[in-house]
Amino acid sequence: MTQDENAVIEVPAAANFYQILTIHGAGMVGAIALASVAVQWFFLNKYLDLSARVFVANLGLFLIGVVAILASVFLGGFAGGWTFLYPLPAHSMGIWGRGAAALFMGGLLVIGTGFLLLYLDIGRALLARYGSLWRSLGVPQLLGSTQSAPPAAVIAGTMVLIVNTLGIVAGAAILVMSLVNLYDPAFRIDPLLAKNMIYFFGHVFINATIYMAITAVYEILPVYTGRPWKSSRVFIAGWVASTVMVIIVYPHHLLMDFAMPEWAEVVGQVISYTSGLPVLVVTSYGALTIVHRSGIRWDLASGLLFLSAFGWAAGVIPAIIDATIVVNQQMHNTLWVPGHFHFYLLIGVVSMVFGFMSYLARGGRAPAPTRGGMLDGVAFWGFVLGSLGFVAMFLYSGSHSVPRRFAVHLAQWEPYDRIASLFAAVVVLAVAVFLLRFFRNLRNAVRAEA
C-alpha cells in the first residue's frame, strides 16, 4: 500500500489503531510501574517499616485511574497518545471530545497521586530508619565512612524516591495545566515548556521502573548463588551518579526541537553516554560477577533475572547510539526508538518482574525443590528468542527509516511488521506459560500453608 493509497483509508479505522496505541503506551508503562513498585516495596519492607495501607491505597488509586483511562479511550474515543502532547488533547479534529481528554489526563493524575503517596511513605520510612536521604543513599560511605552501607535495595529505593517524586510532580503540573487549557483555551501553555515537562515526567517515570525492579536482581541472585550483593563504594558511586544523570538527561528526547538551547541538547547527548556506565560497569557487570563460577542452579526465576541484566545492558547500546545528535536526526521517531526501549523494558524489566514472581510463588526459596521441567525451559527460551527477534525487527525497521506511530505502512515495510508479529506471538505464548506456572505454584503454596 502506498502513501497515496493511504489517503483513502477511513479515518475511523486508523482511529482504532491510535486508540490502541494510546492504551498500549499508557497501559504498559502503568502496568510495569505497578509491578516494579511492588517488587521494590516487597524487598524494602524487609528493611523499613512501610505502611501496607498506603500500598493498598496506591493500588486502589491505580485501578480508579485505569477505569478512567479505559473509559476515555474506548467510550470517549480518546487517541491523543500517552504523551498527551500539548495542545493535541484539545485539538482532536472532532474525533474525541473534551470530556474524553479530561478523563484520560485525570486518570493519569490519579495514578500519579497514588505513586506519589507511596513514595512519600517510603521517604518517611527511610528518614525514620536512616535520618536523611543522604545516608540512605550511602553517600557517607562513598565519602569514606567505615560504617556499614545501607543494603542495595535501600540505596536503589532512595534514588527512585528522589527522581520519581520530581518526575511525578512535573507530570502532575503539566497535566493540571493541560486540563485547565481544555476548559479555558485562553489559558495557553508554552508548547516547548509543555514538551519539556511531559518528557521529563515520562523519561523519569519509565526509567524508575527499571531502578525499582532491579531490586529483584540484587536480592534474589544472592539467594541463588549464596553470595552477597554488597553496597561497595563503586556500587554507591554508580547509584549516586544515576540519581543526577536520570534527572538531567531527558533533553535527549528533544534533540530534534531546534528551538531548545543548544547547551541542553549537548547535555542530552553527553549524559546519555555517561548514563551507560553505571549499567554496564556496576549492575550488569555485578550480575555477571555474582553468577560466575557460583554453582547456581538455573530455574525460571534465576534464568529470567540473569536475562534481565543482559536485557538492560544490551538495550542501552542502541539507546546511546540514538542519543547521538547527528544519528538522532536520521533515527528520531522511527521504529529504532521502540526498538531500544522494548529491549531494556521487555528483556530487562519484564524479565525482572517475572523472575521475581516465579521466586515469590515458590515462597521465596531457592533453588527450586525440583526442576521446572521441559515446559519452563521451552517457555524461557521462547521468551528469549521471541523477545530478541521482536526487538531486532524494530531496530532493523528503524534502520530502514520506518516511522513509529503510523497506522499504515508502505508495502515495502510490511514484511518487517509481519515477521515482528510472529516473534511477538512467541513472546505472548511464553508469557502465558510464565503466568500459568505462577498461578499453579501460588495455589500449591497456599495449599501447603493451609
Binding site: 553516554y273 550488569s284 560477577t289 536526526q329 506511530r405
Partner: protein, 177 residues
C-alpha cells in the same frame, strides 16, 4: 547514512555483551570461592571502565563537531528558503521545488499541534528532520546531493490521520532550478 552504521554497531556491541553473558552462564555450574572470582572480576572491571571511557569519549566529542542547530544561521544569505507549516493533516510549503547542490533552509512551524517534518529520499530513507511546533520556528539546513522527488512525512504523532500527512518536494539538478 548513519542508519546502517547504527545497526552494525548495535549488532557488534550487543553481540559482545551477549557473548559475555553466555560465557558466564556456561561456566556458572562449577563453584569457586567468591573472593577469588571477585578479585579477578574487579581487576577486569577497571579495564572495562577505562575501555568504555576511552572508546566513548572520542566518539562523543567527534560527533558533536557537526551539530545541526546553528547550521541554518551559518547558511543564511546563500541558501534557498522554504517555509513549511504543519496542519492537521497536511503540509503547506512556500515553494515545492529547490535545487540540488545548494543549501536549503527549512523554516518549520505548526498552525495547530506538534508535528515532525521528516525528509525522505526516493528510496524512502530519512535524510533529515526537525520538529514543527506551534509558536516556534525550527530552522533546518540541508543540502540535497541528488535531484528527485523527496517526501515530507510527519514524524510526531498529531492525531488520527497522522500517517497521511505527506507532501512532495521536487529537487532539481544543480543549476536547473
Amino acid at each position: 547514512m548513519y542508519q546502517a552504521l547504527a545497526l552494525k554497531l548495535t549488532i557488534v556491541f550487543v553481540g559482545l555483551v551477549m557473548a559475555a553473558f553466555i560465557y558466564v552462564a556456561a561456566r556458572a555450574g562449577r563453584r569457586r570461592e567468591y573472593a577469588e572470582v571477585q578479585s579477578r572480576a574487579y581487576r577486569i572491571r577497571g579495564y572495562w571502565f577505562w575501555l568504555l571511557v576511552l572508546l566513548g569519549t572520542p566518539v562523543m566529542l567527534y560527533t558533536m563537531t557537526s551539530l545541526p542547530y546553528s547550521s541554518a544561521a551559518q547558511q543564511a544569505g546563500q541558501a534557498q528558503t522554504v517555509r513549511v507549516t504543519g496542519h492537521q493533516w497536511y503540509w503547506s510549503l512556500s515553494q515545492d521545488s529547490v535545487a540540488a547542490g545548494r543549501p536549503v533552509v527549512f523554516e518549520v512551524t505548526s498552525a495547530d499541534v506538534n508535528h515532525g517534518m521528516g525528509i525522505y529520499d526516493e528510496n524512502m530513507r530519512l535524510v533529515a528532520q526537525t520538529q514543527a511546533m506551534p509558536d516556534y520556528i525550527n530552522r533546518l539546513a540541508y543540502t540535497f546531493k541528488q535531484p528527485g522527488d523527496y517526501r515530507l512525512l510527519c514524524l510526531e504523532y498529531c492525531g488520527v490521520a497522522h500517517h497521511n500527512m505527506s507532501a512532495v518536494l521536487h529537487v532539481t539538478a544543480a543549476g536547473v532550478h
